[in-house]
Amino acid sequence: MINTLLPSMPMPSMPMTSMPMPSMPMTSMPMPSMPMPSMPMPSMPMTSMPRPLMGLELMDLEPMHERQQFVAIAGAVIIVLLVFELVRRRKLREEYSWVWVATSITIVVLALNQSLLMTLSSWIGAASTASTLFFGAIIFLIALAVQFSVRLSRLTHRQRTLAQRLALLEEELADVRKQTGTMRKSVAGHQTVTAHKAAGRKASADEVA
């Protein structure tokens, strides 16, 4: 793969030692010997020339290694299972679960569809396909954190308003209770008196009988 990609590229004048190698897993296919020496070398100082951006996609990118693919997919599946389980136990609301499920699906799709992942990598200028996935994950986490901050702000505001209204209501209620409390006492006193009177009347009726 790399062999087919490399020759077309105007190689920047970099010594082998200073060139960051693409992050290849140790187990991946053996690195083909790079056709570096055969490339036309410009007569510039070797270290000062920046690497052309356009060259990146052709130079470094390679599809994800099988093991990387496996780890990415396994991670995504675990997340989905965890989210489903949390929703089942009613510990996570459905409205928050979809973000995680969507992300996991995206990871699986990208891990399986290598050409899509490579195109994406070249767009964002990633040095390797795996780092594209990582980058995506970081972006996702940042977006999630911002969303949570927004929700938290709203909840804080609502909780504050509720607390304030509760405080005002309690004060009003205490006030009303105090007013009706004196009234109720007099009502209760009145009721006791009538009860006594009724009892007395019953007693006299019994006497008559």
């Binding site: 504050r160 607390a163 304030q164 405080a167 005002l168 309690e170 004060e171």
Partner: protein, 250 residues
């Protein structure tokens, strides 16, 4: 006749001080040195006996279920005042820094047509000692507020204020900062066409308790103030505040 003025005293952990403040104000009213006014203490969820002490001293007490911050305590006080139909609101701190006899100066300023009477400790020079960070901050926000409002403001952090009914409606309905109301509120008032006037008052050293402005809070305070002032011209009104208004009675 019920008083048309209410004095709002936000208090957090002011047990041992708030009672004395309430009693001092009542004494002045009874002695005829202050016009009739009701006293409303907003206990901002203090774990100590602030509410009990204030009640025992004869104040009406609104009590937050937990600590919400100075601005929210003030806002609850304003909302209670609005619900009860008061014509104007005075506010002072519960820690004894503000001399209650100075309330008369605030009332005079309100009578003179001001919507916000701002009690300033710097207007006449002898201010109590405060930390360098605080002095620098106060200077900076005083300068910003002055430039914005077009009148000289020397003490935008002052919690010793009087509000007209128009100003009361504004702070109840148009949103109010939850933590530290300051120069931003003054600018907000000014933008609504309310008249802000500073009044010279004497303030004492606090006799204990915790200052709101301490430690890392000062840094946050500075940041928050700058951000608020920066965004003020382009910021939306607070839709939530009006949607689930605290002051709504039904």
């Amino acid at each position: 006749m019920p008083a048309s003025t209410v004095l709002v005293i936000p208090a957090y952990c002011e047990s041992g001080r708030v009672g004395a403040v309430v009693r001092a104000v009542r004494r002045l009213v009874l002695a005829g040195e202050l016009p009739a006014l009701d006293i409303l203490v907003v206990d901002d969820g203090s774990p100590d006996g602030t509410a009990i002490e204030a009640k025992a001293a004869g104040a009406r007490v609104v009590r937050h279920p937990f600590n919400l911050g100075y601005g929210s305590a003030l806002h609850s006080g304003y909302c209670a005042a609005m619900r009860s139909g008061y014509q104007r609101v005075l506010q002072m701190d519960a820690d004894g820094q503000h001399d209650p006899i100075m309330l008369i100066r605030l009332m005079h300023a309100l009578d003179g047509g001001a919507d916000i009477a701002l009690g300033s400790r710097y207007l006449n020079g002898d201010a109590p000692e405060s930390s360098l960070a605080r002095r620098v901050g106060t200077r900076m926000f005083a300068w910003i507020a002055s430039r914005w409002i077009g009148t000289r403001i020397t003490d935008p952090t002052s919690g010793f204020q009087g509000l007209s009914q128009r100003a009361l409606e504004s702070v109840v309905n148009d949103g109010f900062p939850e933590d530290f109301p300051d120069a931003d509120v003054l600018v907000q008032h000014h933008r609504k066409g309310l008249v802000v006037r500073e009044v010279s008052v004497i303030m004492h050293e606090r006799i204990g308790g915790l200052s709101m402005h301490r430690g890392a809070r000062i840094a946050y305070y500075g940041y928050k103030m700058l951000l608020t002032l920066l965004l003020m011209p382009i910021r939306r009104a607070t839709p939530l505040r009006t949607a689930d208004s605290v002051a709504r009675t039904s």
